[in-house]
Symmetry: C2
Protein backbone atom coordinates (compact mmCIF):
# COMPACT_ATOMS: atom_id res chain seq x y z
CA UNK A 1 0.00 0.00 0.00
CA UNK A 2 1.09 3.53 -0.76
CA UNK A 3 0.23 6.33 1.69
CA UNK A 4 -1.11 9.78 0.82
CA UNK A 5 2.16 11.24 2.03
CA UNK A 6 4.14 8.98 -0.33
CA UNK A 7 1.88 9.84 -3.30
CA UNK A 8 2.45 13.52 -2.63
CA UNK A 9 6.22 13.07 -2.36
CA UNK A 10 6.48 10.98 -5.54
CA UNK A 11 4.30 13.38 -7.53
CA UNK A 12 6.45 16.29 -6.34
CA UNK A 13 9.46 14.66 -8.04
CA UNK A 14 8.12 15.69 -11.45
CA UNK A 15 9.32 19.18 -10.46
CA UNK A 16 13.01 20.10 -10.47
CA UNK A 17 12.63 22.23 -7.33
CA UNK A 18 11.50 19.26 -5.23
CA UNK A 19 13.97 16.84 -6.81
CA UNK A 20 16.76 19.18 -5.73
CA UNK A 21 15.31 19.82 -2.25
CA UNK A 22 14.86 16.10 -1.59
CA UNK A 23 17.83 14.79 -3.60
CA UNK A 24 15.55 12.17 -5.17
CA UNK A 25 14.18 11.24 -8.59
CA UNK A 26 11.81 8.62 -10.02
CA UNK A 27 12.35 5.86 -12.58
CA UNK A 28 9.47 3.95 -14.19
CA UNK A 29 9.18 0.63 -16.00
CA UNK A 30 10.82 -2.76 -15.54
CA UNK A 31 13.87 -2.32 -17.81
CA UNK A 32 14.76 1.16 -16.60
CA UNK A 33 14.45 0.21 -12.92
CA UNK A 34 16.58 -2.91 -13.44
CA UNK A 35 19.34 -0.83 -15.06
CA UNK A 36 19.38 1.53 -12.08
CA UNK A 37 19.26 -1.37 -9.56
CA UNK A 38 22.33 -2.85 -11.29
CA UNK A 39 24.25 0.44 -11.06
CA UNK A 40 25.85 2.59 -8.35
CA UNK A 41 22.58 4.50 -7.83
CA UNK A 42 21.12 4.11 -4.33
CA UNK A 43 17.52 2.87 -4.14
CA UNK A 44 15.23 4.73 -1.75
CA UNK A 45 11.89 3.00 -2.44
CA UNK A 46 10.46 0.61 -4.99
CA UNK A 47 6.71 0.47 -5.60
CA UNK A 48 5.69 -2.52 -7.69
CA UNK A 49 2.62 -4.49 -8.79
CA UNK A 50 4.75 -7.63 -9.30
CA UNK A 51 7.46 -9.18 -7.07
CA UNK A 52 10.03 -9.44 -9.88
CA UNK A 53 12.86 -7.16 -8.75
CA UNK A 54 16.14 -8.04 -7.06
CA UNK A 55 15.98 -5.36 -4.34
CA UNK A 56 16.24 -5.23 -0.50
CA UNK A 57 12.82 -6.28 0.89
CA UNK A 58 12.57 -3.41 3.36
CA UNK A 59 12.66 -0.95 0.44
CA UNK A 60 9.94 -2.67 -1.62
CA UNK A 61 6.24 -1.78 -1.35
CA UNK A 62 3.66 -3.96 -3.10
CA UNK A 63 1.00 -1.83 -4.72
CA UNK A 64 -2.09 -2.29 -6.91
CA UNK A 65 -2.44 -1.17 -10.54
CA UNK A 66 -4.75 1.60 -9.31
CA UNK A 67 -2.09 2.83 -6.87
CA UNK A 68 0.55 2.73 -9.61
CA UNK A 69 -1.66 4.99 -11.72
CA UNK A 70 -1.82 7.46 -8.85
CA UNK A 71 1.97 7.82 -8.56
CA UNK A 72 2.98 7.43 -12.21
CA UNK A 73 3.66 10.33 -14.58
CA UNK A 74 3.10 8.07 -17.60
CA UNK A 75 -0.13 7.62 -19.55
CA UNK A 76 0.41 3.88 -19.50
CA UNK A 77 2.34 2.97 -16.34
CA UNK A 78 4.44 -0.19 -16.58
CA UNK A 79 4.54 -2.45 -13.48
CA UNK A 80 6.64 -0.33 -11.13
CA UNK A 81 8.06 3.02 -10.05
CA UNK A 82 11.30 3.39 -8.11
CA UNK A 83 12.72 6.36 -6.23
CA UNK A 84 16.51 6.71 -6.26
CA UNK A 85 18.94 9.18 -4.69
CA UNK A 86 20.44 11.77 -7.02
CA UNK A 87 24.19 11.04 -6.86
CA UNK A 88 26.93 13.63 -6.67
CA UNK A 89 28.59 14.15 -10.05
CA UNK A 90 32.01 12.49 -10.25
CA UNK A 91 35.20 14.31 -11.24
CA UNK A 92 35.37 15.16 -14.94
CA UNK A 93 38.15 13.45 -16.92
CA UNK A 94 39.57 16.33 -18.95
CA UNK A 95 41.88 14.04 -20.92
CA UNK A 96 38.95 12.46 -22.77
CA UNK A 97 36.32 13.56 -25.29
CA UNK A 98 33.68 15.65 -23.49
CA UNK A 99 30.26 16.69 -24.81
CA UNK A 100 29.06 20.11 -23.58
CA UNK A 101 25.45 21.30 -23.91
CA UNK A 102 24.75 25.03 -24.07
CA UNK A 103 21.12 25.40 -22.93
CA UNK A 104 19.52 22.33 -24.57
CA UNK A 105 15.90 22.57 -23.42
CA UNK A 106 14.00 19.59 -24.79
CA UNK A 107 13.92 16.54 -22.48
CA UNK A 108 13.73 14.13 -25.43
CA UNK A 109 16.83 15.69 -26.98
CA UNK A 110 18.81 15.47 -23.73
CA UNK A 111 17.68 11.86 -23.22
CA UNK A 112 18.81 10.71 -26.66
CA UNK A 113 22.08 12.69 -26.34
CA UNK A 114 22.81 10.77 -23.12
CA UNK A 115 22.18 7.51 -25.03
CA UNK A 116 24.56 8.69 -27.77
CA UNK A 117 27.29 9.47 -25.21
CA UNK A 118 26.85 5.99 -23.76
CA UNK A 119 26.92 4.36 -27.23
CA UNK A 120 30.07 6.19 -28.27
CA UNK A 121 31.91 5.77 -24.96
CA UNK A 122 31.77 9.44 -23.89
CA UNK A 123 32.05 9.35 -20.10
CA UNK A 124 31.48 13.02 -19.32
CA UNK A 125 28.55 15.17 -20.40
CA UNK A 126 28.70 18.73 -19.07
CA UNK A 127 25.62 20.96 -19.16
CA UNK A 128 25.07 24.69 -18.74
CA UNK A 129 22.88 25.61 -15.77
CA UNK A 130 19.94 26.35 -18.11
CA UNK A 131 20.05 22.94 -19.80
CA UNK A 132 17.02 20.79 -18.93
CA UNK A 133 17.53 18.71 -15.75
CA UNK A 134 18.70 15.15 -16.49
CA UNK A 135 16.47 13.79 -13.68
CA UNK A 136 13.35 15.18 -15.36
CA UNK A 137 11.05 12.12 -15.80
CA UNK A 138 10.94 12.53 -19.60
CA UNK A 139 14.74 12.57 -19.77
CA UNK A 140 15.07 9.54 -17.50
CA UNK A 141 12.54 7.70 -19.69
CA UNK A 142 14.30 8.64 -22.94
CA UNK A 143 17.77 7.57 -21.72
CA UNK A 144 16.74 3.90 -21.43
CA UNK A 145 19.25 3.33 -18.62
CA UNK A 146 22.19 5.16 -20.21
CA UNK A 147 21.91 7.71 -17.39
CA UNK A 148 23.61 5.12 -15.15
CA UNK A 149 26.73 5.07 -17.33
CA UNK A 150 27.32 8.73 -18.24
CA UNK A 151 28.65 11.24 -15.68
CA UNK A 152 26.55 14.41 -16.01
CA UNK A 153 27.70 17.67 -14.44
CA UNK A 154 25.78 20.97 -14.39
CA UNK A 155 28.15 23.91 -14.25
CA UNK A 156 29.04 27.36 -15.57
CA UNK A 157 29.99 26.40 -19.14
CA UNK A 158 32.03 29.53 -19.82
CA UNK A 159 34.15 29.01 -16.70
CA UNK A 160 34.56 25.29 -17.38
CA UNK A 161 35.80 25.84 -20.92
CA UNK A 162 38.16 28.63 -19.82
CA UNK A 163 39.61 26.42 -17.10
CA UNK A 164 40.16 23.39 -19.36
CA UNK A 165 43.25 23.27 -21.54
CA UNK A 166 41.98 21.34 -24.59
CA UNK A 167 40.58 21.91 -28.10
CA UNK A 168 37.03 23.29 -28.12
CA UNK A 169 34.79 22.33 -31.06
CA UNK A 170 31.36 23.62 -32.04
CA UNK A 171 28.98 23.15 -35.01
CA UNK A 172 28.23 26.18 -37.18
CA UNK A 173 26.95 26.90 -40.69
CA UNK A 174 30.29 27.98 -42.21
CA UNK A 175 33.03 26.00 -40.51
CA UNK A 176 35.42 23.23 -41.63
CA UNK A 177 33.76 20.32 -43.47
CA UNK A 178 33.55 17.71 -40.70
CA UNK A 179 34.07 14.83 -43.17
CA UNK A 180 37.36 16.17 -44.49
CA UNK A 181 39.07 17.60 -41.41
CA UNK A 182 41.30 15.82 -38.89
CA UNK A 183 39.71 15.27 -35.49
CA UNK A 184 41.52 14.31 -32.28
CA UNK A 185 40.37 11.70 -29.74
CA UNK A 186 40.04 14.33 -26.99
CA UNK A 187 38.54 17.80 -26.61
CA UNK A 188 35.27 19.51 -25.74
CA UNK A 189 32.44 19.46 -28.31
CA UNK A 190 29.79 22.14 -27.70
CA UNK A 191 26.21 21.71 -28.95
CA UNK A 192 23.81 24.64 -28.74
CA UNK A 193 20.23 25.50 -27.87
CA UNK A 194 17.43 24.21 -30.17
CA UNK A 195 16.34 27.69 -31.30
CA UNK A 196 19.44 29.85 -30.90
CA UNK A 197 22.41 27.53 -31.35
CA UNK A 198 25.62 28.22 -29.42
CA UNK A 199 25.50 31.44 -27.38
CA UNK A 200 27.86 34.32 -28.21
CA UNK A 201 29.78 34.08 -24.94
CA UNK A 202 30.60 30.42 -25.68
CA UNK A 203 31.16 30.94 -29.41
CA UNK A 204 34.23 33.14 -28.76
CA UNK A 205 35.78 30.24 -26.85
CA UNK A 206 35.40 27.73 -29.72
CA UNK A 207 38.78 26.98 -31.35
CA UNK A 208 37.44 24.98 -34.28
CA UNK A 209 34.11 25.57 -36.01
CA UNK A 210 32.82 22.40 -37.69
CA UNK A 211 30.10 22.10 -40.33
CA UNK A 212 27.99 19.11 -41.32
CA UNK A 213 27.62 19.78 -45.07
CA UNK A 214 24.22 19.76 -46.78
CA UNK A 215 23.63 17.70 -49.91
CA UNK A 216 21.21 17.94 -52.79
CA UNK A 217 19.84 20.90 -54.66
CA UNK A 218 17.72 22.84 -52.21
CA UNK A 219 20.11 23.43 -49.28
CA UNK A 220 17.22 25.19 -47.60
CA UNK A 221 17.08 23.10 -44.47
CA UNK A 222 17.43 25.53 -41.63
CA UNK A 223 19.23 23.25 -39.25
CA UNK A 224 19.46 19.73 -37.95
CA UNK A 225 17.82 18.72 -34.71
CA UNK A 226 20.47 19.07 -31.95
CA UNK A 227 20.38 15.37 -31.02
CA UNK A 228 20.87 14.39 -34.68
CA UNK A 229 23.75 16.86 -34.98
CA UNK A 230 25.30 15.28 -31.86
CA UNK A 231 24.88 11.84 -33.45
CA UNK A 232 26.71 12.86 -36.62
CA UNK A 233 29.48 14.75 -34.81
CA UNK A 234 30.14 11.90 -32.35
CA UNK A 235 30.09 9.42 -35.24
CA UNK A 236 32.79 11.47 -37.00
CA UNK A 237 35.01 11.76 -33.90
CA UNK A 238 34.77 8.05 -33.14
CA UNK A 239 35.19 6.92 -36.76
CA UNK A 240 38.70 8.39 -36.67
CA UNK A 241 39.61 6.01 -33.83
CA UNK A 242 39.18 2.85 -35.92
CA UNK A 243 40.83 4.36 -38.95
CA UNK A 244 44.07 4.95 -37.06
Amino acid sequence: MVTKHQIKLIKSLTQKKYRQQLGLFAVEGIKGIEEFLNSDFKLQNLYTTQPIFDAPKQLVTDISEAELKKISSLKNPNTALAVFNIPKAKDIDREELIIALDDVRDPGNLGTIIRLCDWYGVKDLVCSANTVDCYNPKVVQATMGSLTRVNITYLNLEEFISATNTDVFGTFMNGENIYKTELPSTGIVVLGNEANGISDSIKVKVDRQLTIPQYGESKNTESLNVANATAIVLSEFRRRLIEK
Copy 2:
Protein backbone atom coordinates in the same frame (compact mmCIF):
# COMPACT_ATOMS: atom_id res chain seq x y z
CA MET B 1 -13.61 35.98 -37.44
CA VAL B 2 -13.65 32.20 -37.31
CA THR B 3 -16.98 30.37 -37.30
CA LYS B 4 -17.98 27.44 -35.09
CA HIS B 5 -18.05 25.25 -38.16
CA GLN B 6 -14.45 26.26 -39.05
CA ILE B 7 -13.24 25.65 -35.49
CA LYS B 8 -14.76 22.15 -35.60
CA LEU B 9 -13.19 21.41 -38.99
CA ILE B 10 -9.72 22.65 -37.97
CA LYS B 11 -9.78 20.76 -34.67
CA SER B 12 -10.80 17.59 -36.53
CA LEU B 13 -7.52 17.80 -38.50
CA THR B 14 -5.59 16.64 -35.43
CA GLN B 15 -7.04 13.19 -36.27
CA LYS B 16 -5.72 11.14 -39.18
CA LYS B 17 -9.20 9.87 -40.04
CA TYR B 18 -10.49 13.39 -40.74
CA ARG B 19 -7.29 14.53 -42.47
CA GLN B 20 -7.74 11.65 -44.90
CA GLN B 21 -11.49 12.20 -45.36
CA LEU B 22 -11.02 15.91 -46.04
CA GLY B 23 -7.62 15.77 -47.74
CA LEU B 24 -6.45 18.65 -45.52
CA PHE B 25 -3.88 19.31 -42.80
CA ALA B 26 -2.87 22.25 -40.59
CA VAL B 27 0.43 24.13 -40.24
CA GLU B 28 1.15 26.52 -37.36
CA GLY B 29 3.60 29.36 -36.82
CA ILE B 30 5.05 32.04 -39.09
CA LYS B 31 8.13 30.22 -40.38
CA GLY B 32 6.38 26.94 -41.10
CA ILE B 33 3.48 28.62 -42.90
CA GLU B 34 5.86 30.71 -45.01
CA GLU B 35 7.74 27.58 -46.10
CA PHE B 36 4.49 25.94 -47.23
CA LEU B 37 3.29 29.14 -48.96
CA ASN B 38 6.56 29.19 -50.94
CA SER B 39 6.14 25.56 -52.02
CA ASP B 40 3.87 23.54 -54.33
CA PHE B 41 1.39 22.97 -51.51
CA LYS B 42 -2.06 24.44 -52.16
CA LEU B 43 -3.40 26.81 -49.47
CA GLN B 44 -7.01 26.29 -48.41
CA ASN B 45 -7.33 28.85 -45.59
CA LEU B 46 -5.04 31.05 -43.55
CA TYR B 47 -6.13 32.29 -40.11
CA THR B 48 -3.86 35.00 -38.76
CA THR B 49 -3.63 37.60 -36.00
CA GLN B 50 -1.25 39.73 -38.12
CA PRO B 51 -1.42 40.70 -41.83
CA ILE B 52 2.13 39.56 -42.59
CA PHE B 53 1.69 36.75 -45.11
CA ASP B 54 1.99 36.84 -48.88
CA ALA B 55 -1.22 34.89 -49.63
CA PRO B 56 -4.36 35.44 -51.77
CA LYS B 57 -6.66 37.77 -49.82
CA GLN B 58 -9.80 35.69 -50.33
CA LEU B 59 -8.11 32.81 -48.46
CA VAL B 60 -7.02 34.90 -45.46
CA THR B 61 -9.15 35.34 -42.33
CA ASP B 62 -8.12 37.86 -39.69
CA ILE B 63 -8.61 36.46 -36.22
CA SER B 64 -7.98 37.46 -32.60
CA GLU B 65 -5.49 35.85 -30.22
CA ALA B 66 -8.43 34.28 -28.41
CA GLU B 67 -9.69 32.74 -31.64
CA LEU B 68 -6.22 31.45 -32.48
CA LYS B 69 -6.15 29.67 -29.12
CA LYS B 70 -9.43 27.97 -29.99
CA ILE B 71 -8.15 26.47 -33.25
CA SER B 72 -4.50 25.80 -32.28
CA SER B 73 -3.17 22.46 -31.09
CA LEU B 74 -0.15 24.16 -29.50
CA LYS B 75 0.24 25.25 -25.88
CA ASN B 76 1.65 28.55 -27.08
CA PRO B 77 0.13 29.36 -30.48
CA ASN B 78 2.28 31.55 -32.73
CA THR B 79 0.48 34.20 -34.83
CA ALA B 80 -1.27 31.99 -37.39
CA LEU B 81 -2.65 28.64 -38.50
CA ALA B 82 -2.98 27.61 -42.14
CA VAL B 83 -4.89 24.75 -43.70
CA PHE B 84 -3.33 23.18 -46.79
CA ASN B 85 -4.37 20.41 -49.18
CA ILE B 86 -2.62 17.08 -48.76
CA PRO B 87 -0.87 16.56 -52.11
CA LYS B 88 -0.67 13.30 -54.01
CA ALA B 89 2.73 11.65 -53.56
CA LYS B 90 4.92 12.02 -56.65
CA ASP B 91 6.57 9.12 -58.45
CA ILE B 92 9.46 7.57 -56.55
CA ASP B 93 12.88 7.87 -58.19
CA ARG B 94 14.27 4.35 -57.77
CA GLU B 95 17.69 5.34 -59.15
CA GLU B 96 18.46 7.42 -56.04
CA LEU B 97 19.05 6.76 -52.33
CA ILE B 98 15.70 6.04 -50.65
CA ILE B 99 14.96 5.94 -46.92
CA ALA B 100 12.31 3.39 -45.88
CA LEU B 101 10.60 3.42 -42.48
CA ASP B 102 9.23 0.18 -41.11
CA ASP B 103 6.56 1.22 -38.56
CA VAL B 104 8.22 4.28 -36.98
CA ARG B 105 5.59 5.44 -34.48
CA ASP B 106 6.88 8.58 -32.76
CA PRO B 107 5.91 11.88 -34.47
CA GLY B 108 9.07 13.61 -33.25
CA ASN B 109 11.23 10.85 -34.75
CA LEU B 110 9.45 11.02 -38.12
CA GLY B 111 9.69 14.82 -38.12
CA THR B 112 13.44 14.87 -37.52
CA ILE B 113 13.97 12.03 -40.05
CA ILE B 114 12.21 14.18 -42.68
CA ARG B 115 14.61 17.04 -41.78
CA LEU B 116 17.55 14.65 -42.16
CA CYS B 117 16.34 13.53 -45.60
CA ASP B 118 16.08 17.17 -46.64
CA TRP B 119 19.55 17.98 -45.23
CA TYR B 120 21.21 15.06 -46.98
CA GLY B 121 19.38 15.48 -50.29
CA VAL B 122 17.23 12.34 -50.04
CA LYS B 123 14.21 13.05 -52.22
CA ASP B 124 12.11 9.99 -51.43
CA LEU B 125 11.03 8.75 -48.03
CA VAL B 126 8.81 5.65 -48.16
CA CYS B 127 6.82 4.57 -45.11
CA SER B 128 5.01 1.37 -44.16
CA ALA B 129 1.26 1.80 -43.68
CA ASN B 130 1.70 1.63 -39.88
CA THR B 131 4.26 4.44 -39.75
CA VAL B 132 2.90 7.59 -38.07
CA ASP B 133 1.16 9.95 -40.52
CA CYS B 134 3.44 12.72 -41.81
CA TYR B 135 0.56 15.24 -41.63
CA ASN B 136 0.15 14.64 -37.89
CA PRO B 137 0.49 18.15 -36.33
CA LYS B 138 3.50 17.10 -34.20
CA VAL B 139 5.29 15.78 -37.30
CA VAL B 140 4.52 18.93 -39.31
CA GLN B 141 5.85 21.03 -36.42
CA ALA B 142 9.03 18.95 -36.05
CA THR B 143 9.90 19.05 -39.77
CA MET B 144 10.39 22.84 -39.76
CA GLY B 145 9.31 23.08 -43.42
CA SER B 146 11.33 20.13 -44.71
CA LEU B 147 8.01 18.39 -45.44
CA THR B 148 7.74 20.67 -48.49
CA ARG B 149 10.96 19.27 -49.99
CA VAL B 150 10.78 15.51 -49.34
CA ASN B 151 8.40 13.25 -51.28
CA ILE B 152 6.73 10.93 -48.76
CA THR B 153 4.85 7.83 -49.90
CA TYR B 154 2.91 5.41 -47.68
CA LEU B 155 2.87 1.93 -49.19
CA ASN B 156 3.24 -1.78 -48.61
CA LEU B 157 6.95 -1.88 -47.76
CA GLU B 158 7.40 -5.59 -48.53
CA GLU B 159 5.89 -5.20 -51.98
CA PHE B 160 7.84 -2.01 -52.71
CA ILE B 161 11.17 -3.61 -51.82
CA SER B 162 10.38 -6.76 -53.82
CA ALA B 163 9.45 -4.67 -56.85
CA THR B 164 12.57 -2.48 -56.73
CA ASN B 165 15.80 -3.78 -58.22
CA THR B 166 18.42 -2.15 -55.96
CA ASP B 167 20.55 -2.90 -52.88
CA VAL B 168 18.56 -3.02 -49.64
CA PHE B 169 20.35 -1.96 -46.43
CA GLY B 170 19.25 -2.20 -42.80
CA THR B 171 20.85 -1.57 -39.39
CA PHE B 172 21.34 -4.54 -37.09
CA MET B 173 23.49 -5.46 -34.07
CA ASN B 174 25.87 -7.82 -35.88
CA GLY B 175 26.30 -6.57 -39.43
CA GLU B 176 29.17 -4.98 -41.37
CA ASN B 177 30.92 -2.10 -39.60
CA ILE B 178 29.37 0.89 -41.35
CA TYR B 179 32.59 2.93 -41.05
CA LYS B 180 34.71 0.36 -42.88
CA THR B 181 32.43 -0.92 -45.60
CA GLU B 182 31.88 0.46 -49.10
CA LEU B 183 28.52 2.13 -49.62
CA PRO B 184 26.93 3.05 -52.97
CA SER B 185 25.14 6.32 -53.79
CA THR B 186 21.85 4.51 -54.44
CA GLY B 187 19.73 1.87 -52.70
CA ILE B 188 17.01 1.52 -50.09
CA VAL B 189 17.95 2.00 -46.42
CA VAL B 190 15.41 0.51 -43.99
CA LEU B 191 15.03 1.84 -40.45
CA GLY B 192 12.85 -0.05 -38.00
CA ASN B 193 10.27 0.49 -35.28
CA GLU B 194 11.37 2.16 -32.01
CA ALA B 195 10.72 -0.91 -29.85
CA ASN B 196 11.05 -3.86 -32.23
CA GLY B 197 13.48 -2.78 -34.95
CA ILE B 198 13.04 -4.09 -38.48
CA SER B 199 10.23 -6.65 -38.80
CA ASP B 200 11.04 -10.24 -39.81
CA SER B 201 9.20 -10.02 -43.14
CA ILE B 202 11.38 -7.05 -44.16
CA LYS B 203 14.59 -8.42 -42.60
CA VAL B 204 14.67 -11.33 -45.08
CA LYS B 205 14.69 -8.80 -47.92
CA VAL B 206 17.73 -6.89 -46.60
CA ASP B 207 20.82 -7.61 -48.75
CA ARG B 208 23.34 -5.88 -46.51
CA GLN B 209 23.13 -5.67 -42.73
CA LEU B 210 25.00 -2.64 -41.38
CA THR B 211 26.13 -1.96 -37.80
CA ILE B 212 26.99 1.31 -36.10
CA PRO B 213 29.74 0.08 -33.73
CA GLN B 214 29.69 0.89 -30.02
CA TYR B 215 32.71 2.40 -28.30
CA GLY B 216 33.98 2.42 -24.74
CA GLU B 217 33.98 -0.23 -22.08
CA SER B 218 30.40 -0.89 -21.16
CA LYS B 219 28.79 -1.62 -24.54
CA ASN B 220 25.55 -2.00 -22.67
CA THR B 221 23.54 0.57 -24.56
CA GLU B 222 20.55 -1.27 -25.87
CA SER B 223 20.08 0.72 -29.02
CA LEU B 224 20.22 4.15 -30.54
CA ASN B 225 17.12 6.24 -31.05
CA VAL B 226 15.88 5.58 -34.62
CA ALA B 227 16.25 9.22 -35.72
CA ASN B 228 19.85 9.27 -34.43
CA ALA B 229 20.58 5.98 -36.21
CA THR B 230 19.15 7.53 -39.41
CA ALA B 231 21.41 10.55 -38.91
CA ILE B 232 24.54 8.40 -38.62
CA VAL B 233 23.62 6.09 -41.52
CA LEU B 234 22.79 8.98 -43.87
CA SER B 235 25.99 10.75 -42.82
CA GLU B 236 27.97 7.64 -43.79
CA PHE B 237 26.26 7.22 -47.18
CA ARG B 238 26.73 10.88 -48.09
CA ARG B 239 30.31 11.11 -46.79
CA ARG B 240 31.31 8.61 -49.51
CA LEU B 241 30.12 11.05 -52.16
CA ILE B 242 32.69 13.70 -51.31
CA GLU B 243 35.48 11.20 -50.84
CA LYS B 244 35.12 9.95 -54.41
